[in-house]
């Protein structure tokens, strides 16, 4: 059986030109549950950068952008309503910067995201344990940051609702987790009252295409360690390509495939304290930056249950 005391956290949904934190171990993307009345809180940091991007399918650099970098400082939490039902939430502060050209940096608090995670099935199958999870989540912008200022916007201002099904199979200390997600995105309003996609629109409202994503992770999982390799893909169901030498736009068709390692360590000396870290690289994309990402996080579990957990 899975150890229920593993602590986890969440990061916000993939954002523009930078599917931030897409590969990290996240409670909303892994097969781990918090115990009842346990609250795991933590802080995360992520650094992401690119100097090449895909303008449609055309890969290029831009000497008027130089290197584009994004930093995210996140506050995350997971609470065990029961051993089978967790609620996960988080919000980041984001800064963006380009090293060339004249475009102004941006910074601010981005979106609040939350998930309900339900372990629907947990069953011995063959030599291992099969578990199935159903998740529902959503996100809303916490501030009125500018969305129509890509690539420097800190987010897209869309409200989202997501549904996810995840299957995990563990044999001994080796596991594999596969999940698929559908994300509905609300339309956004921008500061301009007209804009061009593949034709001119005389409105300030932008139709935001929905997204799907797939996440596969596999590796070693024990009470002390998780060491895994992650493969992730996000696909925009619609949207349009950036034209040659045009600026990016929130409703672009942003697709990305990323790979990378990730680890998590639960300290022996301090019960409830854990450290996470990882990296990822964008191997294929469309209308996104070819980002390289690094992340780290520290988490601690607060136990509000009456009886102390067994160690």
């Amino acid at each position: 059986m899975l150890n229920p005391t593993f602590k986890k956290y969440i990061l916000p949904l993939a954002m523009f030109l930078l599917p931030a934190s897409f590969l990290r171990a996240q409670t909303d993307l892994d097969a781990i549950m918090m115990s009842k009345k346990n609250l795991c809180i933590g802080g995360t940091y992520m650094y992401s950068s690119w100097d090449h991007y895909w303008e449609g399918t055309f890969k290029r650099n831009n000497l008027n952008i130089g290197k584009m970098s994004t930093q995210m400082f996140g506050l995350m939490g997971t609470y065990g309503i029961s051993r089978k039902l967790n609620v996960i939430f988080g919000a980041p502060y984001v800064t963006t910067h380009v090293t060339a050209g004249t475009l102004h940096d941006q910074h601010g608090i981005q979106d609040l995201s939350a998930w309900l995670k339900w372990m629907a099935v947990e069953q011995n199958v063959g030599k291992g344990v099969l578990s199935v999870y159903v998740l529902g989540g959503g996100s809303i912008p916490l501030t009125n940051y500018i969305a129509d200022y890509l690539p420097l916007s800190i987010g897209l201002q869309s409200k989202t609702l997501s549904g996810r099904v995840m299957v995990d199979y563990q044999v001994g200390k080796f596991f594999a987790t596969l999940s698929g997600t559908y994300t509905w995105r609300s339309n956004i309003k921008i500061d301009r009252n007209s804009y061009y996609t593949t034709s001119l629109h005389l409105t300030n409202e932008v139709e935001m295409p929905d997204m799907t994503s797939v996440n596969f992770r596999t590796g070693y999982r024990s009470e002390r360690w998780i060491i895994e390799a992650v493969l992730a893909n996000m696909t925009t169901r619609g949207g349009f390509d950036i034209r040659k030498n045009d600026m990016p736009f929130p409703s672009n068709r942003m697709n990305a495939t990323m790979v990378g390692p990730h680890f998590k360590y639960n300290f022996k000396a301090v019960d409830g304290l854990s450290l996470e870290g990882g990296g990822s690289y964008t191997v294929a994309g469309r209308n996104v930056g070819q980002s390289t990402n690094f992340d780290a996080g520290v988490f601690y579990i607060l136990d509000f249950s009456s009886k102390k957990k067994k160690k």
Partner: protein, 514 residues
């Protein structure tokens, strides 16, 4: 295996919301048919922009309404009206809101589509779009603000002259509309007393299509399709017969030829300049002991249309153009320059969200319909409420766009006369809230376009005059708070823009329409 049937509330909510329709519609998508308060039946006597007389191009006397030819025309309408598709009814509804309006929107769409600076060559030089080979990258044209201002003006002015001629012949021949000669014809537009020969819809289709061949040659096929759609809609709606259409399209195409001839000789084709021209601006500025403007792009891009200031104006002559030139900006080595640069830096250092919003709203940069297009949008949405006749729509759009084109010419004349560096060139710490345009700073183009537009629009719709001037002030200010311009660029630009706009007002008071 335990499988509980449990669907979290969020999933259910997701499925409900996913079913919602997210499609977005344009502000002008569902307009009623144009219903002019006054048909301006005497517009044949208004003063055209280029035509010397309204009957410069002959339009033959139409067949009598009891002739067999006319009966065949009527039968064609009835034949179409027996069964019309939703798409055809949609086209009728679309065009019935007004031909000048719809062609203006089509123009704005094309400007936004073609307003992209060419991507650099592998040797870091830049290719220059060529009208002789518009179909290969870089596509012709690069519809930047001066190009766009000129394109809007030529189309609007040609439409105006063509409709003046159209109204002249309507009044001369007084052929009643098909729905008046045959009461069994269904009518999908507003019924009026305006004679239908030649058809104003076809005049507009013909004149605009012919202008577009010159201005957006890559779009000949799509524009021709619009022409056919507009003309068929006019017939199907019961507003015009085939013979009204044929005569109208021919008249429109003939009038356009006068404007095409003018455009070919107005110096715009030479506005790109040569390497020697580009070098010369630098030499001249340095001789005056001024820091010359430098492209802030990497690789360095040649300045945008540096000889556009030599283009022939619509509203005034070249001596007037020179007289519009303001005094110089502060010398680049002066304390005054240091202080206005410092003012930009302190304004842009920590921008507020409201500041960003103002900048974005008026940015009208790459991939947009440009500042003149923005003022066309503002004008169009107000003209809709005024219920102008087609010919008055055209006249007002011509006044606006000739002012915008001449503002562009004057602005480019001033910019390259002074060749003044941008704030970000003087201080690399100055970051901007939208892209820095690739041409000199003094004076601000947005401010000139806005000052000129607000002035003529305030004359056309006096009750909105102060609102337009406030918008112009906002547009000008947006360039300063966006870090694109010094304050003086915007203030002086607004003033010179108003001076240009007054030439359009002068014309408006003398063209016989008021």
């Amino acid at each position: 295996m335990r499988i509980t049937i449990f669907i979290p509330a969020t999933i259910a909510a997701l499925m409900v919301t996913a079913a919602c329709n997210k499609s977005v519609s344009d502000r002008t998508a569902n307009l009623p048919p144009l219903n002019p308060a006054d048909q301006d039946l005497t517009a044949g006597s208004w003063k055209p922009m280029l035509l010397s007389r309204p009957d410069t191009f002959a339009v033959a006397t139409p067949a009598a309404t009891n002739s067999t030819g006319y009966l065949a025309d009527i039968n064609e309408i009835k034949g179409y009206q027996k069964s019309m598709t939703d798409a055809q009814l949609g086209a009728i509804k679309y065009w019935s809101a007004g031909g000048v309006l719809r062609w203006n929107e089509i123009m704005r769409n094309l400007v936004a589509k073609y307003n992209l600076p060419p991507y650099q060559n592998s040797d870091t030089s830049y290719p220059i779009p060529s009208s002789t080979n518009p179909f290969a990258y870089p596509y012709f044209p690069f519809a930047n603000p001066p190009y766009a201002a000129r394109a809007y003006a030529y189309v609007a002015a040609a439409q105006y002259d063509a409709l003046v001629a159209c109204w002249y012949y309507k009044n001369l021949y007084k052929r009643a509309a098909p729905y008046k000669t045959d009461s069994t014809i269904k009518v999908y537009v507003t019924k009026t007393d305006l004679p239908s020969y030649p058809s104003e819809a076809a005049v507009l289709a013909g004149v605009t299509t012919e202008m577009m061949k010159l201005l957006f040659p890559d779009e000949i096929a799509s524009v021709q399709q619009k022409l056919q759609e507009q003309e068929l809609a006019a017939i199907m709606s019961g507003a015009a017969t085939r013979s009204d259409i044929t005569a109208g399209e021919a008249l429109g195409r003939q009038v356009a030829q006068m404007f095409v001839t003018r455009a070919r000789g107005d110096n715009a084709g030479k506005a790109v300049g040569t390497q020697a021209d580009w070098n010369n601006f630098k030499t001249v500025a340095e001789a005056k002991d001024q820091t010359p403007w430098l492209s802030l792009e990497t690789p360095k891009r040649p300045p945008m249309l540096p000889l556009f200031g030599k283009v022939k104006c619509f509203l005034f002559d070249s001596a007037t153009l020179v007289s519009l030139r303001p005094g110089p900006p502060p010398s680049t080595g002066s304390d005054s320059m240091k202080s206005i640069t410092a003012e930009v830096y302190s304004t842009i250092k920590s921008p507020t969200r409201d500041q960003m919003k103002l900048v974005q709203f008026w940015a009208d940069g790459v991939g947009t319909y440009t500042p003149p297009g923005h003022w066309n949008a503002i004008a169009a949405e107000d003209f809709i409420k005024k219920n102008f006749s087609e010919v008055r729509w055209a006249r007002n759009m011509a006044l606006l766009n000739c002012a915008e084109m001449d503002a562009a010419i004057s602005c480019w004349d001033i910019k390259y006369y002074y060749f003044n560096p941008r704030p970000s060139q003087m201080n690399g710490e100055i970051k901007t809230l939208t892209g820095v345009p690739n041409f000199p700073s003094y004076v601000s183009g947005h401010s000139m376009f806005s000052g000129a537009a607000a002035t003529i629009l305030g004359h056309i719709i006096p009750e909105r005059a102060s609102a337009y001037m406030q918008m112009a002030q906002d547009a000008a200010n947006s360039r300063f708070v966006g870090g694109i311009h010094y304050r003086i660029d915007c203030e002086v630009g607004l003033t010179v823009g108003k001076n240009v706009g007054n030439y359009a007002v002068l014309r408006a008071t003398q063209d016989g329409a008021e």
